[in-house]
Subunit: 234 residues, 2 copies
């Protein structure tokens, strides 16, 4: 019998065509497709790949919280991992859907650390939302000897300032509720004119707005902010 | 007549299966496939996608230097762009092959700046070698509120030190001839044990070595060094 494999399946930023050939193949071959549905809501990952899931495939919906409190999260991941473990132990291949890339700020790692020691595990890298955003705005993310920084929005203001100060290019992720703070920092540092806000990159309702054009009071929650400090021609 | 499009085609890190469905489709539909062959050598990009290029497709080999001197490079890019321009002006779609992602430290930008104003241009994002490296070593690149930095190896030692000091995770790219310098920095900062050297990620001859196991005197030229400073469990 072929050993069952646990796949962390990067499915890309949202456009189903930006999935890799490998992810599409595994999606077609896996016995079980698992994905998180935060707090009982719809799963974006499931929505992206829906048309490619064969009818006979078992789907495993895991109610994993997006919450930042550790304890309830830990229990939900323990329970989700136990369900995946049962399938693997029964000889079934399981593919866990991950938006973007599984190891680029993904919650897949919480499953990986619970299961990878006990079962053959393979991570299939995917196109990140970050490079999809750069493609969408038509500007290189970084080039030549630029230092590019990926900066999570929830970080403290002083840390964000310090990192932006020495960056040549930056992607601010997890903007969420931190939009006003981030805009104030960028404005104060004279970087507002070099920042673009991209919402839902490559999805049907993708929206691109120069940061300086986002109306005061608006808060693009599901967005990434790309900053390019280089002024010279490429 | 459908307007011809100039595509920057991200083809991923090396494994042909890590190409996106979109890149595979465009590769099949494009009239002309263009790619650089540095200094007359073989093109890695052409080698990766070779099996997917239809027989009737025109191939345009551009002798673009990898050299860092600006002037000879500028002339080669001018000449290459002129050839692509001729095809587009004649109504032919052109796909320019880019390893990884076109806008993630790619030389595609030099073509983009020469042609995007005059022809409909679309960048197709791809899986970067960086996230493919993380998948290969089985460790998240970055997580939660980590600041991840992409640091080019040619930078001055003091800059690299300063950036590593405040990074939670880092990918050192363009290692090339700078391996000894980089190892000395990482050793001195106590990060050698947290660094992995990945050569030719996802290609047939992929090689992964903990930095501390790379024999003195060896210089993995085509490599990426991933550093994860976080010590706690994910």
């Amino acid at each position: 019998m072929v050993k069952p494999v646990f796949f962390g399946l990067g499915i890309g930023p949202g456009d189903i065509e930006l999935m890799t050939l490998k992810a599409a193949r595994i999606l077609n071959e896996a016995d079980v497709i698992a994905y998180p549905a935060a707090n009982g809501g719809e799963s974006l990952a499931r929505r992206i790949v829906g048309p490619l899931i064969p009818e006979h495939t078992t789907e495993l919906v895991l109610p994993l919280p997006m919450s930042r409190q550790r304890e309830p999260g830990r229990q939900a991941y323990d329970e989700g991992a136990a369900q995946i473990r049962d399938h693997l132990a029964a000889g079934r291949t399981v593919a866990f859907l991950c938006e973007g890339d599984p190891f680029f700020y993904g919650s897949f790692m919480y499953m990986f650390e619970r299961l990878a020691q006990d079962f053959p595990t393979e991570v299939v890298p995917g196109v990140t939302s970050m490079t999809a955003c750069a493609a969408a705005i038509g500007r290189p993310l970084a080039a030549r000897n630029d230092v590019l920084k990926i900066i999570p929005g929830p970080l403290a203001e002083e840390r964000i300032r310090a990192e932006l100060q020495t960056a040549d290019a930056a992607a601010i992720i997890k903007v969420g509720a931190h939009f006003d703070k981030l805009r104030a920092i960028l404005r104060d540092m004279g970087l507002e004119a070099r920042a673009q806000v991209i919402e839902r990159a490559t999805q049907g309702d993708q929206k691109i707005t120069p940061l300086s054009d986002v109306p005061q009071g608006e808060h693009p929650y599901f967005s990434t902010i790309l900053i390019y400090k280089g002024g010279e021609s490429w």
